[in-house]
């Protein structure tokens, strides 16, 4: 992101777009500068993951997100993709700003954002909505246990039990979603013991685990008509206090659920010069649950097409993904070209169809791809132009 004037509340929103698998874009002189990070916990060393506690919020860290993506099918065969995400962004570490006497219930040091997008494959429609709120009164927040993350009436909750039963609820004008989910496996720690390093800078890392395959069942209402839906979902939970380095401009994130029961996740961090950053990484989990980290040089990514939004933001669309070490050769194709969230900042997060071979045998499945950092470069650096660019 080019150096830009700090803007508010738009600047906050910019910082809040913290998609899975990577850290937020840095604002070199802004709120995310080094000073801002002071006082927050850093993701480094080791962390003894414990569940269900670690599903809850990690307040000493600056940012955190809970990320559901998935594929659903209605009884008539109609297919849907969905994304429900909650972001927590702290302005200051807990305890750093003593509450004034007679403090208002509106006092807060955290802001929450939530996104809900639906890809209606048959209807060729993609609809998204955003919610934003301070973590005050009962407007937004995260608590655990039991887990509850919410903004207004959108919520993610988890019921104690073995296995944990997750519930996701969100609605927008045309679609409303209510899902019950159960993980088919234990949490998968990405990176090294869950530490996902994002750049060479000390502390530029986050704690990151996934539930790469959950069964989902529930109701998707379309224009007021409820549809019983079932399918699979992917859950990511990540927290940290660092930002992208100034050399990095964005990332491409891939999460595939293959029909043979294996899952593949890889994030490619992009440098300003367009090259892939060496800290890009991924995780492969086979059908038996064996976890294999993927280094950047193990994964070949080749865009096979592109899509340009109505106002000229150009995204790659379609990829050839090869992992020679796993004999994996997959083509990923968006189920719908326009799955761009025109939020702040803009990003593309969409359902893809996966087709190819694994070990020479045909392999296929579904996936989600997230493309971040393509839109911002188009914004002028200052003046009202930038404002319009970030606001819309």
């Amino acid at each position: 992101m080019p150096p830009q004037r700090r803007r508010f509340p738009l600047a906050v929103l910019a910082l809040l777009a913290l998609p899975a698998g990577a850290a937020p874009p840095v604002d070199p002189e802004g709120a995310l500068g080094r000073a801002a990070v002071a006082g927050f916990a850093r993701a480094e060393g080791t962390h003894a993951f414990a569940f269900p506690q670690d599903h809850g919020p990690h307040e000493p860290f600056r940012q955190e997100w809970w990320y559901f993506t998935g594929h659903l099918q209605a009884p008539g065969g109609e297919r849907f993709g969905f994304e429900v995400t909650f972001f927590r962004f702290a302005l200051a570490p807990p305890g750093s700003t003593p509450a004034p006497v007679g403090a208002s219930a509106w006092r807060t040091r955290e802001i929450y954002m939530a996104h809900f997008a639906v890809t209606d494959v048959a209807g060729r429609r993609f609809e998204f909505a955003q919610k934003l709120s301070r973590a005050a009164l009962d407007l937004a927040g995260a608590t655990a246990p039991p887990l509850r993350v919410w903004v207004d009436d959108w919520a993610l909750t988890a019921e104690a039990g073995e296995p944990l039963r997750w519930h996701v609820r969100a609605r927008q004008p045309r679609y409303a979603l209510q899902l019950d989910l159960e993980s088919q496996g234990a949490p998968v720690l990405n990176g090294t013991g869950g530490l996902s390093v994002k750049s060479a800078q000390a502390g530029a890392a986050s704690w990151y685990y996934s539930l790469p395959r959950l069964t989902a069942r529930g109701t998707l209402s379309r224009d007021g008509v409820p549809l019983e839906v079932a399918g699979t979902a992917w859950f990511d939970h990540e927290w940290g206090s660092s930002a992208l380095s100034t050399r990095q401009s964005g990332w491409d994130w891939f999460a595939f659920q293959l029909d043979d029961g294996s899952t593949f996740m890889f994030y490619a961090l992009r440098d300003r010069d367009g090259r892939r950053d060496p800290h890009s990484a991924g995780t492969f989990v086979d059908a038996a649950g064996a976890v294999r980290p993927l280094a950047t040089d193990e994964v070949e990514l080749q865009p096979t097409g592109s899509w340009t939004s109505a106002d000229g933001v150009r995204y790659p669309a379609g990829w050839q993904v090869r992992v020679p070490a796993l004999a994996l050769d997959l083509a990923a194709r968006p189920v719908l070209a326009d799955q761009e969230l025109r939020t702040r900042p803009r990003y593309w997060e969409g359902a893809v169809q996966v087709q190819g071979t694994r070990g020479g045998a045909p392999a296929g499945g579904r996936g989600y791809v997230e493309l971040v950092g393509y839109a911002q470069e188009r914004c002028p650096e200052a003046g009202t132009g930038a404002h319009r660019c970030v606001a819309r």
Binding site: S133, L137, L139, Q172
Partner: protein
């Protein structure tokens, strides 16, 4: 031929520049005053609308409740509720509003949730404003963080990052300037802060002043509103934002109507001036026009010529008037916004708005005025038989006939005015129409009065001084000149006297009312505009104040604005000290019964409220209490000048029962015998401590303050009437100047007959002074009549209060000085000229 005509006309105007300039000045002043008032009121209204848009411009509706505001949990509930069909998001934005004093200035303190406000209206001030540079960490976390508009920051010499003091509800607070907002559409008078900070500063934890809502257009919006209403507790009201804004600004209707009427008066006086100038221009050319007519120029051509001149004059006058209006408007704007701030609501006007219609209006008004004024002389000159032209004698003869007819017309006007007042009920406009009819009536009668008095004077002087007699006969004989000038001056003087008497009467009534209504010796209140939730006294401070030795008894007051089926109404809840009922003079309702009912929970209403809503004892008024709508019986109507929208008086205990608001906004302290306000006030201040800077004032101080606010609100009236008087004075000067110059030959003849230069000068002066005095003489009774209309009709209809007429000599002094000054000014140049002009030239003139 037409070209010849036009050339003759233009050359004539060109050769009489002074006359042209005075006519233009008169018209410009008249048009300018109208434009100025238009600009000043439009700017105030524009600023007011901007102030609403600045916060959540896209909001369609507002939720509000009584004095205590809304419970913030309501906002949380609404955020979670599926309000719109298909569950589209219905943006909601909470607000906590109050006032902050920064140095000498009172600014509106607006507490917002920037995230909610940006969701409500991206691109409006709240969202844009914060883009002005506040670091979100400062905004949310730093105690005292505020954002100021650039204009205010510059005025206060505050740079970003500055720490400074603010007084809120009398308590000094430390603020930090986290950002500065610039942009022309922004308001000058606002301090923005986070909603949490605003709640803390205003002591309003848990409460919201307002929730702004944006519902979609059409059916979806109706459904959303219905769902919203179903979720609201009974005490919460839903208002359409635009209607609310209109209603709020409509509070100033009576005030702005007054202003417009006054500006019209200036124009009316200006009309006489144009009439004088055009008829003079016509008269001077009577010979040439007679010749032209004899040469075959048609009646229509002459008419066109004269009206064409008037049109040109009107256009130029309108253009000059427009420019002048811009200048006067700027000056007036300060006065208008000061008055609005004093009487209605806080509005900061930093921009001059010139509505497109204003300039069109200026041109139209200029043209119509000029044409109307020129019509009579034009018809006259075109209708005359060619040969006679308009021989002076013929004209003067006609003028005398006209003057007689005018007397009849004047009496008719006055009668019509009386009928209008009687028949029009509450209409303020009809009241002003009657006032104008009255003024026109005065103007119509004046020429005849002038003639009668001049002839009578001449008869008296006949033996004493031949020259004096000559002078007065001359005045009577040149009625076409002198009559118009004196009529214009008479009208202006009438208006002046009327206003002076009205203001003085009002002042006297107010003084009496203040004396009567302030029973307590010392009054304590929190410094915030009334009706705001911030206006509350700290209970601990109250306890300490009441424990101060020397305080014998006390009354308690809570001021609030409550909703009703008739719109928001100011409510004054009082716990009276026994025996102080007399502070309220009941004008309707029997006192014994009214006060008994009051203590039982009935309400009393002030005169303006009763007048505005047409309410009387025995009726009831539905108020929105904390438990929903409830009817309150009206036990009486009392005299009150404090609030021109009127107010309700309620027993404090009843108010607390219905609104669940235990706060106190003010105290009235009764002192023990022998204790003076002067000695106890320092002790009270000490007892109050430094926590809350209270307003602790003796009743004498409050009376003085009320009187000074009163004087301030009438400054603008005075300014406008002086403008009208100025136009009239210029009219007199220009008409008399023209007349005297016209008589150069006659004066020269007098000189050859042995009258000294000083003698002719004296003659001229005597004539103008005589005319000035006649104008004054006509204006005195007419002015008193006007004052009666102003107090008993206009003020009653505009505000509902009754004012007793008080007359005293000083009320007439300004009019006297103006009459004399105009007379002397009119005499100066002709006198100098007649004294110095070579006799031969004067004799040759004709």
């Amino acid at each position: 031929m037409r070209r010849t005509l036009r050339a003759a006309a233009l050359r004539h105007l060109w050769r009489h520049p002074a006359q042209l300039a005075l006519a233009l000045l008169g018209l410009s002043l008249g048009v300018g005053t109208i434009v100025a008032v238009d600009i000043a009121t439009a700017s105030a209204e524009r600023a007011f609308q901007l102030s609403l848009q600045a916060v959540n411009g896209a909001a369609t509706h507002q939720l509000s409740a009584g004095p205590g505001g809304l419970d913030e949990q309501l906002y949380v509930r609404l955020r979670r509720a599926p309000l719109a069909p298909g569950h589209a998001a219905v943006p909601l934005a909470p607000l906590v509003l109050g006032y902050a004093t920064l140095g000498e200035r009172t600014l509106e303190l607006i507490g917002i949730d920037p995230i909610a406000s940006a969701g409500m209206s991206a691109g409006t001030a709240a969202a844009d404003g914060l883009a002005g540079g506040a670091d979100p960490r400062d905004w949310f976390l730093r105690p005292g963080a505020v954002v100021l508009p650039a204009a205010a920051a510059a005025q206060l010499h505050l740079a970003r990052g500055a720490e400074f003091g603010l007084a809120i509800g009398g308590v000094r607070r430390s603020a930090y300037l986290a950002g500065i907002v610039d942009g022309a559409a922004w308001l000058d008078g606002v301090v923005l802060t986070d909603i949490a900070q605003a709640q803390e500063w205003l002591g309003a934890a848990g409460r919201l002043s307002r929730i702004d809502v944006r519902v979609p257009a059409g059916e979806a919006g109706r459904v959303a509103l219905a769902r919203l209403r179903a979720l609201l507790p009974p005490a919460v009201e839903v208002h359409e934002t635009r209607a609310q804004a209109r209603e709020t600004f409509a509070m100033t209707d009576a005030f702005t109507t007054n202003l417009k009427a006054m500006s019209l008066l200036a124009l009316l006086v200006g009309t006489f001036l144009i009439y004088g100038a055009v008829s003079f221009a016509v008269l001077q050319r009577r010979t040439i026009i007679g010749v032209l007519r004899a040469l075959g120029v048609t009646r229509a051509e002459v008419l066109r010529l004269v009206l064409g001149e008037a049109l040109l004059l009107g256009l130029v006058g309108a253009a000059c008037g427009g420019l002048l209006g811009l200048l006067i408007g700027r000056a007036l704007l300060g006065l208008v916004s000061q008055t609005i701030n004093d009487l209605y609501f806080v509005v900061a006007v930093s921009q001059v708005a010139v509505p497109a219609t204003t300039l069109l209006k200026a041109i139209a008004v200029g043209l119509v005025t000029a044409l109307a004024a020129a019509l009579v002389p034009a018809l006259e000159v075109s209708g005359a038989t060619p040969q006679l032209g308009l021989a002076r004698s013929v004209l003067e003869q006609r003028a005398q006939q006209v003057a007689r007819r005018f007397v009849v017309a004047g009496v008719l006007f006055a009668a019509l005015a009386a009928v209008l007042v009687g028949a029009s009920g509450h209409s303020l406009l009809a009241g002003f129409a009657a006032l104008f009819l009255l003024l026109l009536g005065v103007a119509a009668v004046t020429p005849a009065v002038l003639r009668v008095l001049a002839l009578a004077g001449a008869r008296v002087l006949a033996r004493a001084s031949a020259v004096g007699r000559l002078a007065l006969l001359d005045v009577a004989g040149s009625l076409s000149r002198t009559g118009v000038a004196v009529a214009a001056l008479g009208m202006a003087l009438t208006a002046m006297i009327g206003v002076a008497v009205m203001v003085a009467s009002f002042r006297e009534s107010l003084r009496e009312w203040l004396l009567q209504s302030m029973h307590a010796d010392v009054y304590v209140s929190a410094p915030a505009p009334s009706g705001n939730i911030a206006r509350r006294l700290d209970p601990e401070v109250v306890r300490r104040l009441l424990a101060t030795p020397g305080v014998r008894a006390h009354s308690e007051a809570r001021h609030a604005v409550v909703g009703s089926t008739r719109g928001p109404i100011a409510l004054n809840a009082l716990r009276l000290v026994p025996g102080s009922d007399g502070a309220f003079r009941l004008t309707e309702g029997e006192a014994g019964h009214a006060w008994a009912a009051f203590r039982e929970g009935s309400i009393l209403i002030s005169e303006p409220l009763g007048w505005r809503l047409g309410l009387h004892p025995g009726q009831s008024l539905t108020l929105l209490t904390g438990d929903g709508a409830r009817d309150f019986a009206i036990a009486g109507v009392y005299r009150e000048y404090g609030n021109d929208r009127g107010e309700i008086l309620m027993d404090l205990a009843a108010y607390r029962r219905h609104w669940h608001d235990a706060e106190i906004g003010g105290l009235g302290l009764y002192l023990s015998p022998g204790v003076s306000a002067g000695e106890i006030i320092p002790r009270l201040r000490a007892a109050a401590g430094t926590g809350q800077a209270l307003l602790i004032r003796s009743n004498a101080e409050i009376r003085a303050l009320s009187m000074s606010i009163f004087e301030r609100t009438f400054i603008i009236t005075r300014v406008l009437y002086w403008l009208a008087a100025g136009v009239a004075a210029i009219g007199l000067v220009s008409a008399l100047l023209a007349w005297e110059l016209e008589r150069a030959r006659q004066l020269a003849l007098l000189r050859t007959l042995g009258v000294t230069p000083g003698g002719t000068a004296l003659l001229i002066l005597a004539q103008t002074v005589f005319m000035g005095l006649v104008a004054l003489l006509a204006a005195v009774p007419a002015g008193i009549l006007t004052a009666l209309v102003l107090t008993q009709v206009i003020n009653r209809r505009a505000f509902g209060w009754q004012i007793d007429l008080h007359l005293s000599v000083p009320q007439f002094s300004n009019a006297l000085w103006l009459a004399l000054a105009a007379a002397v000014a009119a005499a100066l140049y002709p006198a100098w000229r007649s004294a110095h002009a070579p006799l031969a030239r004067g004799l040759r003139e004709e």
